[in-house]
Amino acid sequence: MPLLTVDELTVTFGGRGRKDVRAVNGVSFTVDQGQVVGLVGESGCGKSVTSLALMGLLPAKGVTLGGRADFDGTDLLTLSPRRMRDMRGRDLAMIFQDPLSSLNPVVPVGVQVTEILQRHRGLKGEAARKEAAHLLDRVGIPDPNRRLKEFPHQLSGGMRQRALIAMAVACAPRLLIADEPTTALDVTIQAQILELLKELVDQEGTALLMITHDLGVVAGLCDQVNVLYAGKVVESAARRELFAHPTHPYTHGLLGSIPRLDAPRGEPLHPIRGSINDQIAWADGCAFAPRCDRYEMDCLTGTPALTEPRAAGHQARCVNPVLATTEVPA
């Protein structure tokens, strides 16, 4: 029985006399105990919004939520604000994209770590400080006692992200959501951070929901991958399966657009045409159609259903899926 079951989640921004915009359009996926699940897609595909919705961090005004997000027995979407407040940081925690802007510039790192310990684990004063130091040490920040007194701007990018991770794991949450945790960092640091995340989840048996646009990250980390396009899951499979047999033209495209060292010289990349802006409403058909090479008239007959055209547990939302392995750009 999965830890988190997201079922037909929809997020609609509206109000202020503006036209309603549906950012998440019926997303469903599950996360099991200790499992690492990827949520992949271009920016604007609704993956971050999904995570915020799960954390209950979307503004109350002008946002309407639909569907269910069952976190072992409790629906996160309908939870009262104060109950949500109690769960955040304790049962489910989150790591954000830009470590600098995500840390309060005028408050010492130490305080920012201890405050969560105080809130959820009732640790005070010296005890809290000790634990905080221990946490920083655990996330691999050298000389933690000194760092605790320092301010974010005095830390390096990597250390900031480590500090954020320390806060996230401070209360050993059961679900950890990481929203593009490495995008703002330079490559060498990225690897370290991913390494750290992996070992943390392994130790604690924490489930990790990895939100990224970077298939590399996914390949390195995730057990299960969900590909999002225009607010819907278009393909969902175990990591190996997905990379071996990308079935949805979009996934296919994504993979095709990654440069590969083992590709013969002169072999062209196959980027996807156009941008996320050229899309059509799911109601009318496949939102990806405008950018799709395999697009046919019947792509435009309503929302395509999730099917398992290739193997059990490998779902794709496409009327005209890619089935021949050969077509993967070699």
């Binding site: 006399g17 036209k19 915009v21 802006n277 050229d278 899309q279 059509i280 409403a281 009318d284 058909g285 159609a289 405008p290 697009y295 046919e296 008239m297 435009l300």
Partner: protein, 320 residues
């Protein structure tokens, strides 16, 4: 054949569906700002008030039922016995202490008030902008001399800001004697440092921004950058300030009148002057002060509303 037709048809179908979904095209700052302005209630109310005020200011003198200085009803008002005449059929606002028609004076006064506001704002804007531009340019162009110029100018404006604006105004009035011009200059001068610092500040900010960096890296001469890029982009806060200054100018003018430095020529009534000269009779004829006071407040409010709305509209931080 058929294939082609299906092909074309499917393209068309696709096209129209694509068009159907909204595109978030990146509108330019200004167009975006305008849109937000039209959306904001503040802006609309402000604009309406200003509109009315300007109309009154323009046509006022012509539609005024009586001459503003004709002491037509001299015999009916006895300030020395606290006998005044309030609103009545032929005098909608009643009479002032010399038996003149308040309504007519109010209408004519609107123009004077507008004049004071606009001119003194312009004085402040022009002089201040020049100073600000000079030191801003000096600062961005950098170099030793540049820094020197900048820091000197800024220190002077510092002190100007430090001086209580009214005292500055009072002393100017004292030197130049009392007249409408004096009031305008006095109020205008007070605005100078504000505009100067504002323009300089935003020029420096712009100077640090990426596109300037880009332009530099393309080897465009600094002078050119300052003139073609920085200056125009630094103007929006100045424009906002200008609108707000219209309000403050009108109020400051009133304050000067209260200190007895307002435009003294009784032939051209001005709200500030009307207000301060009516103070004496507040107990007997409160409305005499209320009309001009309300006039001033509402007008100032109009400009402030519009200004604030513009600020919000132009300020990227305050969006959404």
């Amino acid at each position: 054949m058929g294939l082609i037709s299906t092909n074309t048809s499917k393209i068309d179908r696709l096209a129209e569906l694509t068009a159907a979904t909204e595109h978030s095209t990146g509108a330019s700052l200004w167009r975006e700002a305008l849109r937000r302005l039209r959306a904001s209630k503040m802006a609309v109310i402000g604009a309406v008030i200003i509109g009315l005020f300007v109309i009154v200011a323009i046509i006022g003198p012509w539609v005024a039922p009586y001459g503003p200085i004709e002491q037509t009803w001299r015999g009916e008002v006895f300030p020395n016995q606290g006998k005044f005449v309030g609103a009545r059929a032929e005098n909608w606002f009643g009479l002032d202490q010399l038996g003149r028609d308040l309504f007519s004076r109010f209408l004519v006064g609107a123009r004077q008030t507008l004049l004071v506001g606009v001119v003194s704002m312009l004085i402040g804007l022009v002089v201040g902008a020049v100073i600000g531009a000079v030191s801003g340019a000096a600062a961005t162009l950098g170099g030793r001399s540049g820094q020197r110029v900048d820091s000197f100018v800024m220190r002077v404006t510092d002190i100007m800001l430090a001086l209580p604006s009214l005292l500055l105004a009072v002393s100017i009035a004292a030197v130049m004697g009392q007249s409408l011009t004096t009031v305008m200059i006095a109020v205008g001068v007070v605005q100078v440092p504000i505009f100067a610092r504002l323009l300089r500040g935003s020029m420096l900010a712009q100077g640090r921004s990426d596109y300037v960096l880009a332009a530099r890296s393309l080897g465009i001469r600094k002078r050119r950058i300052v003139l073609t890029q920085i200056m125009p982009n630094s103007l929006s806060p100045v424009i906002v300030q200008a609108t707000l200054s219209l309000a403050t100018a009108i109020i400051e003018a009133a304050a000067l009148s209260y200190l007895g430095l307002g435009n003294p020529d009784p032939a051209v009534p001005e709200w500030g002057v009307m207000l301060s000269s009516a103070q004496r009779f507040f107990d007997n004829a409160p409305m005499m002060s209320v009309y001009p006071a309300v006039g001033i407040i509402i007008t100032a409010l109009g400009f402030t509303l519009l200004g604030e709305a513009m600020r919000e509209a132009l300020d990227p931080k305050l969006r959404g």
